[in-house]
């Protein structure tokens, strides 16, 4: 009996090795991004906004400079990639004094951490759309993040475009945005709602 199991195991390992040894091209289902379309941002028609609570009231802001690269394979979302880089210095809450405070060392510390970065190497299909699963880095702190979004494609003037939008919530203190007395959440809330509406063009 033991001999039989060992024999089966050896056979299984051998079979597995044979499968793995095959070149990727020979396996039709492997996610080698053959059908992925590469999209880049249309900055003029895209927005990246956030809502935060200051002194008990909701306040809004946006980033005016950010880059997006999206490789979308409709047939295998798991082979898709999303990469977003945000220029933190471009933050705009509509108030110069507040913006300068946010750029300061105790909040975003832009001099040291000029960019925030989201890199998703996996896109999951969900009941209502998609979810980008990846790593979000803000102020030098990297954490796992899942960002739900919807995506639709269209053809405009003969060019392939994509519209991506979504909304997610994150806690600023998870990323160290708020040092010293800014760690307190009674005046500036911990939860920040980030929303985006992007127009992407296929390359």
């Amino acid at each position: 009996m033991r001999l039989l199991i060992s024999g089966a195991l050896v056979a299984a390992v051998l079979a597995l090795q044979t499968v793995l040894a095959q070149p990727p091209a020979a396996a039709p289902a492997t996610p080698a991004t053959p059908a992925a379309t590469h999209y880049v941002l249309d900055p003029a028609k895209s927005s990246l906004d956030y809502t935060f609570v200051q002194a008990g009231a909701a306040n809004k802001g946006r980033f005016t400079r950010f880059q997006v690269a999206y490789d979308f394979a409709p047939e295998s979302p798991a082979a898709s990639r999303l990469d977003v880089t945000v220029d933190i210095n471009s933050l705009d809450t509509g108030d110069q004094e507040r913006d300068d405070t946010l750029r300061g060392a105790d909040l975003f510390a832009v001099a040291k951490f000029p960019q925030a970065h989201f890199a998703a190497s996996q896109i999951d299909r969900t009941a209502s759309g998609y979810e980008a699963v990846g790593k979000l880095t803000i102020r030098g702190v990297t954490r796992d993040a899942r960002v739900p979004f919807s995506f639709r494609t269209a053809t405009e003037n003969g060019a392939a475009v994509g519209y991506m939008s979504g909304k997610t919530s994150l806690r600023r203190l998870d990323y160290g945005v708020g040092q010293g007395d800014w760690k307190a959440t009674d005046q500036v809330g911990n939860d920040v709602i980030v929303s985006f509406a992007l127009r992407l063009t296929a390359r």
Binding site: A55, G56, A57, N59, D100, D181, A184, Q187, V188
Partner: protein, 190 residues
Amino acid sequence: MAIRNTTQRWGAIAQLLHWLIVALVITQFTLAMLFDDLPPSAHKLALLARHKSVGITILMLAALRLAWRWANPTPPLPDTLKPWERSAARFNHVLLYVLLFAVPVAGWTMSSARGFPVSWFGLFTLPDLVPKNKALYELLVTTHGILAWTLGVVAIIHMLAALKHHFVLKDDVLRRMLPLTSNKTQGSGR
């Protein structure tokens, strides 16, 4: 002590509103002086938020006070007053009421013009009175300040006049606004 005013004395509600507003106005001057020269910080935000909440409270109490005044008898000014003193007292009282509304409304409008919505102790957010406007904001900072200092001066005149009535003229003008006392001339506060 009677809840409502009589023709001799201010009732408990009127007294409570009067002295509560006195305490809150003093709080407002204190908070404003504490945050005025501070650089932006969470501490400054906290003081500012408190100042706005207390200001809105004063506005609400002033409205309540005016309504209560209309629904109650008003103890008359003493007969001993000369006509000009009578006019001065009336003018001062009207100005106090006007400023108790004008100062918080100017502050609220100033916050709206800056683009910072006003929250009342974090419990609810007030509507913005004007859209964001930097020039209007700058103007309202000055206006709010001038109105506030005017309120301070008028309130001090009001206080000095009350003290004169009490210590120099020795009448019931101050006593009838004080709890746990009674009028000299008319006895109990009924």
